[in-house]
């Protein structure tokens, strides 16, 4: 057999692929340290379903001493491909960045291009964008809670509940854009097509039924003693470190920092909706999990208001050029509050049909900066839980 001793899931890393042949986490090579510490490689294939991600962990018994994440196993060269494609041609690739939330990825890219070229968006399209973005937030948070509970050991059942709700939302996405996951729906200046007939009524029905699912989940989870024992006090992130490390999204808000780009940047038409921003008090995994539940309730509020107020009209500005789109030379940085966190696109144009520099601000990568800080001193089993609560998606980390 070719590689004896090279185990896959949790095992001993023979030569540290990706972190260099000779790269060891042990700083000292003294015999006591060697005998005392165990260096293992968790990943890139492991049961916690976040994708191909690898962590080199140095253990003292079961306690983590050092942790270095290794990336690049899903580096698909999105930025380089975008330099060779037109602006519109990169839109389907943005779906595949954070493959759970394709609608918000599309919106972030469309926003950046609209900022670059100075395009405005009609009213109905803005409402459709808000509705689809909030529905994306609902299914993302539900899925995350399901995956986190699966990482804790509840093999399958909470994930089944979450996917049950997710399927309802994906049906609506398929009706409007043609695809369940890779929607490719936003365009520069609006949306690709108008909503089919009956879609709004179906969405209203879904929004009315969703709080029932949230109540069921909350009743099962909020006072659950296993959850409280395993998640409270685990992976505490202080507010100062979170701000300095560029952490955004629910992870930042769980540490008590009030920074929601929907309220800060006033992009889209979020100013018209009344919603609150939940904040956590402790910054541990339990806060991050429950915060997402609260955010889902706020999303329901936004959806109810948006579905009432949506006007009729065009969904894309008819004067916008879609073919042969060549914005003037310049640069723009557009960002939105995606369901996971701040997703930004930095575009530099040189007047031609492809961008000169196309950059995706990788939120999952930046949020992983603090992974080592969160995990030191915790047990190995907690590392999986902390990683689950950070809520990464590898398509975004590696692009």
């Amino acid at each position: 057999m070719a590689d004896i001793g090279m185990e896959s899931a949790v095992g001993i890393s023979a030569a540290g692929d990706g972190a260099g042949p000779g790269y060891r986490l042990l700083a000292k090579e003294s015999p006591e340290e060697e005998g005392r510490f165990l260096e293992i490689s968790m990943g890139p294939q492991h049961p916690s379903t976040h994708g191909v991600f690898r962590m080199d962990v140095l253990l003292d018994g079961e306690t983590v001493v050092r942790l270095k994440p290794v990336f690049g196993y899903l580096h698909r060269n999105h930025e380089k491909i975008a330099e060779g494609t037109t602006y519109l041609g990169s839109m389907p690739y943005t779906d595949r960045l954070d493959y759970f939330n394709s609608m918000t990825n599309n919106w972030a890219y469309a926003l950046a291009v609209e900022k670059l070229a100075g395009i405005s968006v009609p009213e109905r399209a803005e409402y459709i964008r808000v509705i689809t973005a909030e529905m994306t937030r609902l299914q993302n948070h539900a899925t995350l809670m399901g995956f986190l509970l699966q990482d804790l050991g509840a093999m399958g059942t909470p994930l089944m509940y979450a996917f049950r709700e997710r399927e309802k939302i994906l049906d609506l996405f398929e009706a409007v854009s043609g695809s369940r996951m890779m929607c490719n729906y936003m365009r520069f200046g609006g949306c690709r097509v108008d909503l089919p007939s009956g879609w709004l009524e179906e969405t209203v029905r879904l929004v009315d039924e969703f709080p029932g699912f949230l109540d069921e989940f909350e009743a099962l989870l909020a006072e659950n003693e296993i959850l409280m024992a395993r998640l409270q006090g685990v992976g505490v992130l202080s507010a100062a470190l979170a701000v300095n490390a560029g952490v955004t999204g629910p992870m930042l808000r769980a540490s008590g920092v009030n920074y929601d780009i929907r309220k800060v940047d006033h992009y889209g038409i979020y100013d018209r909706f009344k919603f609150r921003v939940p904040l956590g008090a402790h910054g541990d995994c339990y806060d991050r999990l429950m915060l997402r539940l609260l955010e889902m309730r706020e999303s329901i509020k936004i959806l109810k208001q948006a579905l009432k107020q949506i006007p009729s009209g065009p969904v894309i500005d008819p004067k916008v050029k879609i073919r042969n789109f060549k914005p003037k030379p310049g640069e723009a940085y557009g960002r939105i509050e995606g369901p996971k966190w701040e997703l930004g696109f930095y575009l530099m144009s040189d007047g031609s049909a492809s961008p000169y520099r196309y950059r995706v601000r990788p939120p999952s990568l930046i949020n992983l900066t603090v992974l080592e800080d969160l995990c030191i001193g915790q047990k190995v089993a907690d590392v999986v839980v902390i990683l689950g609560s950070v809520d990464i998606v590898l398509g975004e980390v590696d692009r």
């Binding site: 692929d17 990706g18 972190a19 260099g20 042949p21 790269y23 990336f71 690049g72 580096h75 060269n77 930025e79 380089k80 900022k115 670059l116 070229a117 100075g118 470190l241 701000v243 300095n244 490390a245 560029g246 952490v247 920092v257 920074y259 800060v264 914005p327 003037k328 030379p329 310049g330 640069e331 723009a332 940085y333 960002r335 701040e342 930004g344 930095y346 530099m348 144009s349 000169y356 520099r357 950059r359 601000r361 990568l365 930046i366 992983l368 900066t369 603090v370 590696d398």
Partner: protein, 212 residues
């Protein structure tokens, strides 16, 4: 937030010897950027972070950009002696503007909820002098992003706690996002149904006359 000219003035007052340049942004409604010289970049960033009115404590995005050498060809008239008589000839002169690599930082403030301020740093050239100071000691969020710029562009950040490749494997030798990167040639022909359609269509057209 104050205007970019005001910020530039205040930085110049606070840090003596700093060289700043405002780079305009061709796209309307989007902010211009400030270019800092690498020697004073860390001091400037510290000023921006600690200043009471700015409090730019959140580095949102750290990007690398590649500007290759610009070669311009000009035709000039040159006087030369031919057989004792001065004559005018046309000569092609190549002017080469050296290229550079650039690191762009988007700074926001979470405390005061304003921004962005765009900071730029340029290297000397693309080959030997590709060192820039790292802002990771001030902004932890630049940690992985600067590693990625090192990996994909080749800018070496001095002062970075752990500068290794991030996305490509350690033995990899190129910097793939540069404009002159040659990707490995492993494209193979794969027949598709389209080829059969093309073959069928070809039968309707006369074959090209071969050049003798």
């Amino acid at each position: 937030m104050e205007s970019i000219e005001q910020i530039k003035l205040r930085i110049e007052q606070a840090i003596p010897g700093v060289i700043l340049e405002i780079i305009a942004n061709g796209s309307p409604g989007n902010p211009a950027s400030i270019r800092v010289d690498p020697e004073h970049a860390l001091a400037v960033a510290r000023f921006l972070k600690d200043d009471g009115q700015l409090r730019l404590d959140y580095a949102s995005n750290v990007t690398g950009v590649d500007w290759p050498d610009k070669v311009a060809q000009q035709t000039v008239k040159v006087l030369k002696m031919v057989d004792g008589v001065e004559k005018e000839f046309d000569a092609k002169v190549e002017t080469r503007e050296p290229g550079f690599l650039e690191a762009v930082y988007h700074l926001y403030s979470m405390e005061l909820k304003h921004g962005p301020l765009v900071l730029r740093m340029r290297t000397g050239d693309r080959a030997g002098q590709t060192h820039l100071p790292s802002l990771t000691p001030l902004y932890r969020s630049a940690d992985f992003q600067e590693r990625e710029i090192y990996d994909l562009y080749g800018i070496i950040f001095d002062g970075h706690p752990d500068l290794r490749r991030l996305l490509m494997w350690e033995g990899f030798e190129d910097h793939p996002m540069r404009k002159d990167y040659a990707e490995p040639d492993d494209y193979e022909f794969e027949p598709t149904a389209h080829n059969q359609v093309l073959a069928k269509a070809r039968r309707h057209y006369p074959p090209k006359a071969s050049n003798g």
